[in-house]
Point group: C2
Chain length 140, copies 2
């Protein structure tokens, strides 16, 4: 997606498409590594030395509120962000620390939902060992 398209998208969601917000969104869009706010900041401050940490936080919050970015619920220290807001699960490898996406069957997830509740968000994650770490250290 081009920056122009991103600007349009932000505008549609009621966010003024500032350089900073587009940069944050672009980073998340291009790096599907579920980075933390600090990771985003460190990456962006290279290109834009004037960017502040607070703006990264502000932008992330604005993007989450606008529904363009999702905040992950994981048992990690910091919060992680994802530009992929479609239904999918996350796997957190306890050995390498990586967070991988995996697909979720929509109808299967529907069947998990508790009755009587109005579901607006969901977080489905598993943790353990990713395939690479399993073969690297098979016994554990």
């Amino acid at each position: 997606m081009t920056q122009k398209d991103m600007a349009t998208l932000l505008g549609e969601r009621g966010l003024r498409p500032t350089v900073q917000r587009i940069a944050v969104y672009e980073y998340l869009y291009d790096h599907r590594t579920h980075p933390s706010a600090e990771t985003v900041y460190q990456a962006l401050v290279q290109q834009h030395p004037t960017f502040s940490r607070t703006t990264v936080y502000n932008s992330l919050h604005a993007l989450v509120k606008a529904g363009l970015v999702k905040e992950l619920a994981m048992d990690t220290e910091e919060r992680h962000y994802d530009a992929d807001v479609a239904l999918h699960g996350h796997f957190h490898c306890r050995r390498c620390g990586g967070i991988a996406d995996f697909t979720l069957d929509e109808s299967l997830v529907q069947r998990l939902m508790p009755d009587g509740y109005l579901v607006e968000g969901q977080g489905i994650y598993f943790s353990g060992r990713c395939p690479a770490c399993r073969s690297a250290e098979p016994t554990n």
Copy 2:
């Protein structure tokens, strides 16, 4: 469960059953409200004025490591703990802030798991409005 049984249980899991650890475990066992460390501390310090915050953290970590307590992954500020380590999901109500349990079908959850990964832990939660808050404010 009696404190005696808890002491035995901790012992079986390789934890010395100290007064503090039993108190923390007992609180979680009796209060299925998914409290934070601070909440546990505030409750316990009433009865045991000498208890320290650090000990509550230490005890929680020890209990989690021993598999007697589970740390929840939610999109909240602090970490929440649960003495129920059996498979179940959590619902976080965005209006009242409450966290409710709901049952999960084991085989359904199995079918969600990604292939090739060794799954050691899982967190399944939904957020939105609980039934009480839905009827209290139906339009939203």
